[in-house]
C-alpha cells in the first residue's frame, strides 16, 4: 500500500545489491533508528534501563548466534558460555588497568579463541552431536569459572565492574550505557546484513545447506566452519562484556548459565533463523513478553477479573508464554521474521494477491 516499487532502477550492479533499494523500507529503518536514538527523551529510566537496554544487548547476542546457527547452520547450545568468557575476560582486563575499548576487544578475542577451540568439534560432528559438544563447552566453562577463584573471585562471588569510559565518555549514567549498547547492536546489524552479501556469507550459507556439496564447489568447510565459530564467538564475547558493563554492572556465574544458552537458542528460533530482524523480534519476544504477561496477569488479578489461586497466578504467565511460543512456531515455523516478511509482501503487492512463499 505504502510501498512504491516503480521508479526503482539501477545503473550499476552494486546499487542493485543495495540493502534497501525500496524507499519505504529505508524510511522504516530511518524511523526505527530515530526512535531508538530519541528513546532516552521519551522513555522513563525504568523502561529504558530494564526493557530497551537489555533488549538491545540480547538482540546483539541473538545476532551473533544467528550468524552461527542461521547462516552457517552450526548448532550451538553453549553460547552463554562464550559470552561469559567475554565478560570475565573484559572485567579482568579493565581491573588490570587496560582501557575499556581494548578490554572489549580482548573479551571478544579470548571468547573467539576458546569458542573456536570448541568449534573444532564441529569439523567432526554435526547436528545433535554438535549440540552435545557445545553443551560440554557450556558445562566446562561454567565449572572452570566457578572453581577457579582467580576468575570468579570465589565460589559465590560477584565481581563488580569498575568505572570505565568509552573513548572519553564515562560509561556510568543510564544514557551512556544505553547508547553504547545501541551502538553495538546497530554495528552488529549492519555487519550481519552485509555478511549475507559477501562471499564469506555465501560460503557459510553453502555450508549450511550441504557441507560436502559446498566442498565440491570449492568452499573449504574446514576454514569456513572455523571462521563462523571465530566470528560468532568474537561477537558473542564482546556482547557478553557489554552485558556485564552496561546492564548487570557486575558478573556472577549464574548470569551465563545453561538456561541462558537455551534462551538464546529460543530467541534465534522464535525470531527466525538467519535474519537480522528476527534477532530483534526474537530477543524482544523471549525477553519482554514474560514481563508483559506477568504485569498483565497481575493487573487482571488485582482488578478482580482473574480470580485464581496465588499459586496459579504465579504460573499463569509462564503457561501463556509457553503456549505462545508453540503457537507462533506452529503458525509460522520460520519465525517472527517470516511473519514480518509475509506482512511486508502483503503490502508490497497491494492490492493484488501476495504469495506466501
Amino acid at each position: 500500500m505504502f510501498y512504491r516499487l516503480s521508479g526503482v532502477y539501477h545503473t550499476r550492479y552494486q546499487a542493485a545489491r543495495a540493502l534497501w533499494p525500496i524507499a519505504a523500507d529505508r524510511w522504516q529503518v530511518i524511523l526505527l533508528l530515530a526512535l531508538a536514538l530519541a528513546a532516552p527523551l521519551f522513555l522513563s529510566p525504568l523502561y529504558l534501563g530494564s526493557y530497551l537496554l537489555p533488549w538491545m544487548i540480547w538482540s546483539a547476542a541473538a545476532l551473533s548466534l544467528t550468524l552461527l546457527m542461521g547462516l552457517a547452520g552450526q548448532l550451538h547450545f553453549g553460547f552463554a558460555a562464550v559470552m561469559a568468557i567475554g565478560a570475565y575476560s573484559a572485567i579482568h582486563m579493565t581491573r588490570a588497568g587496560l582501557p575499556f575499548e581494548l578490554a572489549l576487544l580482548g573479551g571478544g578475542v579470548s571468547a573467539a579463541l576458546i569458542g573456536t577451540a570448541f568449534g573444532f568439534a564441529a569439523l567432526r560432528v554435526k547436528g545433535l552431536y554438535l549440540v552435545m559438544a557445545t553443551l560440554a563447552m557450556q558445562y566446562l566453562v561454567d565449572w572452570v569459572i566457578i572453581n577457579v577463584p582467580a576468575i570468579s573471585g570465589g565460589a559465590q562471588a560477584t565481581l563488580r565492574t569498575p568505572a570505565v569510559s568509552f573513548f572519553g565518555l564515562p560509561i556510568a549514567g543510564l544514557e551512556a550505557r544505553y547508547y553504547l549498547a545501541l551502538g553495538w547492536a546497530v554495528l552488529l546489524t549492519v555487519f550481519f546484513l552485509n555478511v549475507r552479501r559477501t562471499s564469506f556469507g555465501r560460503a557459510l550459507i553453502a555450508i549450511r545447506d550441504k557441507d560436502f556439496a559446498a566442498a565440491v564447489i570449492g568452499v573449504d568447510p574446514f576454514r569456513y566452519k572455523l571462521l563462523a565459530f571465530l566470528t560468532a564467538s568474537f561477537m558473542g564475547g564482546v556482547t557478553g562484556a557489554l552485558l556485564a558493563f552496561c546492564y548487570y554492572r557486575a558478573v556472577t556465574p549464574e548470569q551465563f548459565s545453561f538456561n541462558v544458552s537455551i534462551q538464546l537458542v529460543a530467541m534465534v528460533l522464535v525470531g527466525g533463523l538467519g535474519t537480522a530482524i528476527g534477532s530483534f523480534l526474537g530477543a524482544g519476544f523471549v525477553l519482554l513478553l514474560p514481563i508483559v504477561l506477568t504485569n498483565l496477569v497481575a493487573a487482571l488479578g488485582s482488578a478482580g477479573i482473574l480470580d485464581v489461586s496465588q499459586n496459579l497466578m504465579a504460573h499463569l504467565p509462564l503457561i501463556i508464554y509457553g503456549a505462545m511460543i508453540i503457537g507462533f512456531l506452529l503458525f509460522e515455523p520460520l519465525g517472527l521474521a517470516k511473519i514480518y516478511d509475509n506482512i511486508r509482501k502483503y503490502f508490497l503487492v497491494w492490492p493484488f494477491r501476495h504469495s506466501r512463499s
Partner: protein, 654 residues
C-alpha cells in the same frame, strides 16, 4: 559503394520562414554543448541501465556518421533501418541525418515481400539493422535486390566473418569513424553543419492497407514544428522521462524518441527487450507515456484479473473505491465539481487503491499519459482518469507528424479529441472531411506526385477522416470519409463510428449498423455472451444458450437502454431507430467478419436479408431460418424467432 548525385529537389521555397540552421543535429549539438553531462538515454542491459550523456550521444552519432560516410552513404541516399528500439539504431538514424541521407525505418516483423518492395521503390542500398534475424532476412532478399551493398548491424551475436559480403558491425563502423575524426580535424565540425532544415529527416510509410505503402517524407522543419506546437500547448515539457518501446517505424517513435527528445532534452529509456517493456517501464516510471487504446485496455484487463484473484478485503476496497472514482470523474467531465466530502473520500481511495495501482503499472510519475490511433473505449478512458492519471487523446496522422489536435487538461470530453495545437489550422469541408494546415504537414509523398496531388487541396491536407465540431468547439472524429454513407433521406453517417460506440458497452460484442440508402438506421447486435451471461445470473434471468439469452426480454431491455444512451450522443439525423439481437455471433467461419473481426457488410446483408427486410417492414418479430455450418463442414438449419425493438428515435418518427 558508389552513389548517384543528390536527388533531393530544392524545396526551400516551400517554407521561406524556416531557418537553415534549425535542424535536429543542431539541437543535438546544442544539448551536447550546454548540458554535456546530463543523461540523454538509458538502455537496460542484463538488468541495469547504461547511461549515455548528451556529449556521448553527439560523439556516437558523429562517429557513426563518419563511419557510414566511409562506407559510402551519402546525401539523398535512403537507408533502411529495421529492428526493435535500440540506442545504436537511434544513433545510426541521426548519423544518416547528419550525412543528409534519409533513414527509412521498417517494422522488424514485416514480411520479406514488404521489405523488398520498400527497398526496390526507394532504391535502398544500405541497411542498418538490429541483429542476425534482420541480417538473415535481408541476405535472403539480395537475390531480388542486388543493389543492397551495405548491411550494418548492432548486435554481433552469430554474425562473425561476413565482412566480405558487405555485412559490418555498427561498432566497427563507429571505430572507423572515430579514426577518421581523429585524422581529419575539420570533419567533426563539417558533419555537424551539413544538415539543413529543408532536408528530409525521416521517410515513414503509410499503412498500405490499399495498395503499396506510400513513402511519407518528414523534413526537419516539419518534425520540429510539430514538437514545438505540442510543447507550446504544454503537451510535452522539457526533460521528460520517456520510454521508447513503440515500433521505430511508427511516426510517434520518431517524434517522441528522436525529435522531441533532442529538441526538449528528454531522457529516452530503451527497454531490454520488447517482452520486458512492461517490467522495465515500472523500473523507470516515466513522466510521459503513450500507449495505444488497445494497450490501455490490456492494462485495465490486467488490473481486473489481479483484483479478481486477490483476497476479499482488497477486492472489497477496490470494488468500493473504483466505481466511486469513476462516477466522480464522469461528473467532473460533465462539469460538476465534487464536494469536499467526496474529495476527502477520494483522498482515502487514493491512499488505499489508486496510488498503489498506479505504482503497480509503473505510472506513478506519469504527468502526461496519452493515447491516439483509434477511439478509446469510454470505460477504459474513464477508468484511467479515475485512477488519477490525466489521460488525454490526441489526433493526427503520419502526414502531419501525428500531432495536430489534442485534448486540453481542462476540457476533456468523452466524445471529442480536443482542440488544434497552436500553429495548426483545422477546418471541416462540405463533405464533412477534416482538413489541416500547418508547418507540421508534410510536403508530399515520396516520389509520388499523383498521390501528393490527391492529398492536398489549396494547401490544405486532406486527412480522409470525417469529423465535426461539437457544441463546445472541440473536434469529433467520426471515421473514414470513404466509409461515409447516406440514408435515403440524405443523412450522412459512418456505420463503424456508431458500431464502435455501441461496442464500448460491455454488453455488446459486435454490432452492424444498416441504413445506407434506407429510410432510417437500424442495428443488428451481438450480445457479449460472457458479460450478459454474468448480468443474467446476477439478475435471475434463466437461459439455456446464446440464442436463448439474446431474446430474453430483460436482456433486450438492457441492450435497448445501452443503445438509447449511444443515440443520445448522436446528432438528430443519423440515430438508430430499430435493432434486433442476433441469435448468434458474427462468425469468421461464416464469412461475416474477417479473422480480425472486421465486418463484411455484404455477407451480413445477404445472410440476414429476411431480418433486415423485417426491420424495415416495421414488423415486431421475425422467424429466421438460420443456416448453421458445423465445424465438420455439415450444414443444418434452425428456426429462431427474433424480436425487433423500436427505439425512441424510431417512435418519434411515428
Amino acid at each position: 559503394m558508389q552513389h548517384d548525385p543528390v536527388v533531393m529537389p530544392d524545396e526551400a521555397h516551400l517554407h521561406p520562414d524556416w531557418m537553415d540552421g534549425d535542424h535536429l543535429i543542431a539541437a543535438l549539438e546544442r544539448n551536447a554543448r550546454d548540458h554535456p553531462r546530463e543523461v540523454a538515454m538509458r538502455e537496460r542491459d542484463h538488468g541495469i541501465w547504461h547511461e549515455v550523456t548528451w556529449a556521448d550521444y553527439l560523439t556516437r552519432v558523429l562517429e557513426l556518421a563518419a563511419g557510414l560516410e566511409g562506407a559510402g552513404v551519402g546525401p539523398g541516399e535512403v537507408v533502411l533501418v529495421m529492428g526493435d528500439n535500440r540506442p545504436q539504431l537511434y544513433f545510426a538514424m541521426l548519423a544518416a541525418i547528419c550525412l543528409r541521407a534519409i533513414p527509412s525505418p521498417a517494422y522488424p516483423d514485416a514480411p520479406s515481400s514488404e521489405i523488398l518492395g520498400q527497398m526496390q521503390r526507394e532504391g535502398i542500398r544500405a541497411a542498418i539493422v538490429e541483429d542476425q534475424e534482420q541480417v538473415d532476412k535481408l541476405m535472403g532478399l539480395r537475390d531480388d535486390h542486388s543493389d543492397l551493398a551495405l548491411i550494418a548491424y548492432d548486435d554481433p551475436r552469430g554474425l562473425g566473418g561476413m565482412e566480405d559480403r558487405g555485412v559490418v558491425a555498427l561498432r566497427d563502423l563507429a571505430a572507423q569513424g572515430r579514426e577518421r575524426l581523429a585524422n581529419e580535424p575539420n570533419l567533426r565540425r563539417d558533419l555537424k553543419e551539413r544538415a539543413n532544415v529543408h532536408d528530409i529527416a525521416v521517410l515513414l510509410h503509410s499503412s498500405g492497407t490499399t495498395g503499396a505503402p506510400k513513402g511519407i517524407p518528414l523534413k526537419h522543419g516539419h518534425v520540429l514544428a510539430a514538437v514545438r506546437n505540442a510543447s507550446a500547448a504544454g503537451y510535452f515539457v522539457q526533460g521528460e522521462a520517456h520510454m521508447a518501446y513503440l515500433p521505430m517505424a511508427w511516426v510517434g517513435d520518431f517524434i517522441f524518441s528522436i525529435a522531441a527528445a533532442v529538441e526538449l532534452r528528454f531522457v529516452v529509456h530503451v527497454p531490454e527487450r520488447q517482452e520486458t517493456a512492461q517490467h522495465d517501464l515500472r523500473e523507470i516510471a516515466p513522466t510521459l507515456y503513450f500507449a495505444s487504446p488497445r494497450a490501455w485496455s490490456a492494462m485495465l484487463t490486467r488490473i481486473q484479473v489481479g483484483i479478481a484473484e486477490t483476497s476479499g478485503l482488497k477486492r472489497a476496497l477496490y470494488e468500493h473505491f473504483m466505481p466511486f472514482a469513476i462516477d466522480l470523474e464522469r461528473r467532473r467531465l460533465e462539469g460538476r465539481k465534487p464536494g469536499i466530502a467526496a474529495r476527502l473520500w477520494r483522498g482515502v481511495g487514493n491512499a488505499l487503491i489508486y496510488a498503489p495501482l498506479r505504482d503497480q503499472l509503473g505510472l506513478r510519475r506519469v504527468k502526461r499519459p496519452y493515447t491516439a490511433g483509434e477511439a478509446i473505449g469510454e470505460d477504459v478512458f474513464l477508468f484511467f482518469r479515475a485512477l488519477g492519471l490525466n489521460l488525454r487523446q490526441f489526433y493526427g496522422q503520419t502526414e502531419n507528424c501525428a500531432l495536430a489536435v489534442a485534448q486540453k487538461p481542462e476540457d476533456i470530453s468523452l466524445t471529442s479529441v480536443g482542440r488544434p495545437f497552436p500553429g495548426v489550422e483545422v477546418k471541416i469541408d462540405d463533405n464533412g472531411e477534416i482538413l489541416l494546415k500547418g508547418d507540421n504537414n508534410f510536403d508530399g509523398y515520396f516520389q509520388n506526385a499523383e498521390a501528393t496531388a490527391e492529398t492536398f487541396r489549396d494547401g490544405w491536407l486532406l486527412t480522409g477522416d470525417a469529423g465535426r465540431w461539437d457544441d463546445d468547439g472541440q473536434l469529433m472524429v467520426l471515421g473514414r470519409v470513404s466509409e461515409m454513407v447516406e440514408t435515403a433521406r440524405g443523412d450522412r453517417f459512418i456505420p463503424t463510428y456508431i458500431e464502435n460506440r455501441l461496442k464500448f458497452s460491455p454488453h455488446i460484442r459486435d454490432a452492424c449498423v444498416i441504413g445506407a440508402g434506407r429510410d432510417f438506421l437500424s442495428a443488428i447486435v451481438n450480445i457479449d455472451f460472457a458479460a450478459v451471461g454474468q448480468w443474467a445470473q446476477e439478475n435471475g434471468v434463466a437461459y439455456a444458450s446464446y440464442a436463448d439469452l439474446s431474446q430474453a426480454q430483460p436482456v433486450v431491455d438492457l441492450i435497448r437502454d445501452e443503445i438509447e444512451a449511444v443515440n443520445a450522443d448522436l446528432p438528430e439525423g443519423p440515430r438508430l431507430h430499430r435493432f434486433v439481437n442476433l441469435h448468434k455471433e458474427f462468425d469468421p467461419d461464416d464469412g461475416e467478419v474477417t479473422r480480425t473481426r472486421k465486418l463484411r457488410r455484404g455477407v451480413i446483408d445477404k445472410n440476414y436479408a429476411p431480418i433486415i427486410a423485417a426491420i424495415y417492414d416495421g414488423r415486431d418479430s421475425v422467424d429466421f431460418e438460420a443456416t448453421i455450418t458445423y465445424e465438420t463442414g455439415q450444414q443444418g438449419t434452425m428456426t429462431r424467432t427474433l424480436s425487433i425493438v423500436t427505439l425512441e428515435a424510431g417512435k418519434e418518427r411515428g
